[in-house]
């Protein structure tokens, strides 16, 4: 069983990078780390490109640094990866038709919760305050 597990993991070989990336200056390194932290590793899907030790993550980090050295902007680099690996690589996907729920869902849930709490509180304190709204007799 363990052997099987190891075998299936083997194809996503974990390797140590023989030639570490060389940065020209601290600013470049900071930008690189910020950018790769926002990109998702395509192999080990719950790690960022910055954290992952999979072979493909090594290669993609190198590619990202190459593109930075070619003077590409962060947006262009993200576009480069999206064209090849899909929207999946972005931890912050574009706001689009199929992602709006992802972006605004939590806020909607919060608003819905706030509305319910507000109604309950108003119902409870309404009669005591004597200021019962005349419009709230439709629902209960």
């Amino acid at each position: 069983m363990v052997v099987l597990l190891l075998l299936s993991l083997g194809s996503f070989a974990q390797v140590s990078d023989p030639t570490p990336l060389q940065f020209r200056d601290a600013a470049e390194e900071t930008r690189f780390h910020a950018l790769t932290a926002e990109l998702r590793c395509v192999m080990c899907q719950n790690q960022s490109l910055a954290d992952s030790n999979a072979q493909i993550a090594h290669d993609l980090r190198r590619e990202v640094l190459d593109l930075m050295n070619q003077g590409k902007s962060d947006a262009e680099i993200k576009q480069f990866l999206v064209e090849r690996y899909g929207e999946f690589v972005l931890y912050k996907p574009e706001v689009a038709g199929n992602t709006w729920l992802l972006w605004f869902g939590p806020a909607l849930l919060l608003l819905a919760g706030a509305a319910i709490v507000f109604r309950i509180v108003r119902r409870r304190s309404g009669p005591a305050a004597g200021a019962v709204a005349h419009d709230d007799n439709q629902e209960w």
Binding site: L7, S8, G10, S11, F12, A13, V42, M43, Q45, Q55, I56, D59, L60, E63, V82, E83, R84, Y85, G86, E87, F88, I116, R119, I120, R123, R124, G126, P127, A128, V132, H134, D136, N137, E139, W140
Partner: protein, 196 residues
């Protein structure tokens, strides 16, 4: 319930019932999601990413041939007929699993079957083919793995179907099975041929 000022407690009860219903619906929804997740969890390749390349022109490549390293081979030379490109490496145990399956299929000569040797040394790759058999029409070698990024390849095995016009029609991540060939690859190939 139409006497708001007289029965405040019934309104409160109503609010609680309302909240209860909302919470119950919420949990039912969560359970539905959980059920869906469990149902999906045994689906092979559920982590495979859909390739954004499907329906788009295959990325050009210019790579050395594994068996003749001095000679380079380009995508353009494959135009005119569909081909299947199978990404493999001697370091990849899953490739060994699918090897008999793809060998059997390649031998039917239904479609040109190209090997894409990824991040391998020439020596290891040749030894692997010698040991397990070489089902490929030709094998291109991408040792640095740079071209693989253009193809959105993130491991091996991966298998692509490209049509006569050079459009990517289908991709599979992970080991190919007889079932996948029969239910996905061949229908996709027939469709590509019909639309030629």
């Amino acid at each position: 319930m139409n006497q708001p000022a007289k029965k405040p407690e019934s309104r409160t009860t109503g609010a609680f019932v309302f909240a209860g219903v909302i919470i119950a619906l919420f949990f039912l929804g969560l359970m539905g999601l959980l059920y869906y997740g469990v149902k999906q969890s045994d689906r092979a390749g559920r982590d495979a990413l859909p390739s954004p390349l499907i329906g788009k022109p295959a990325p050009a490549f210019d790579l050395p041939l594994l068996h003749e390293p001095g000679k380079r081979f380009t995508l353009a030379e494959l135009r005119g007929q569909p081909f299947v490109m199978n990404v493999w490496g001697s370091w990849c145990p899953e490739c060994r699993v699918e090897h008999p399956v793809i060998s059997k299929f390649a031998l039917t000569k239904r479609v040109r079957f190209i090997g894409y040797n990824l991040k391998d040394t020439r020596e290891d790759a040749l030894r692997w083919l010698e040991q397990f058999g070489n089902p490929y029409l030709m094998v291109v070698a991408d040792e640095p793995g740079r071209t693989a990024i253009d193809w959105g390849i993130y491991g091996a095995p991966e298998t692509f179907l490209v049509d006569a016009k050079g459009i990517v029609r289908w991709k599979h991540v992970g080991a190919i099975t007889d079932q996948i060939i029969a239910e996905q690859l061949i229908p996709a190939l027939e469709k590509a041929e019909a639309e030629k």
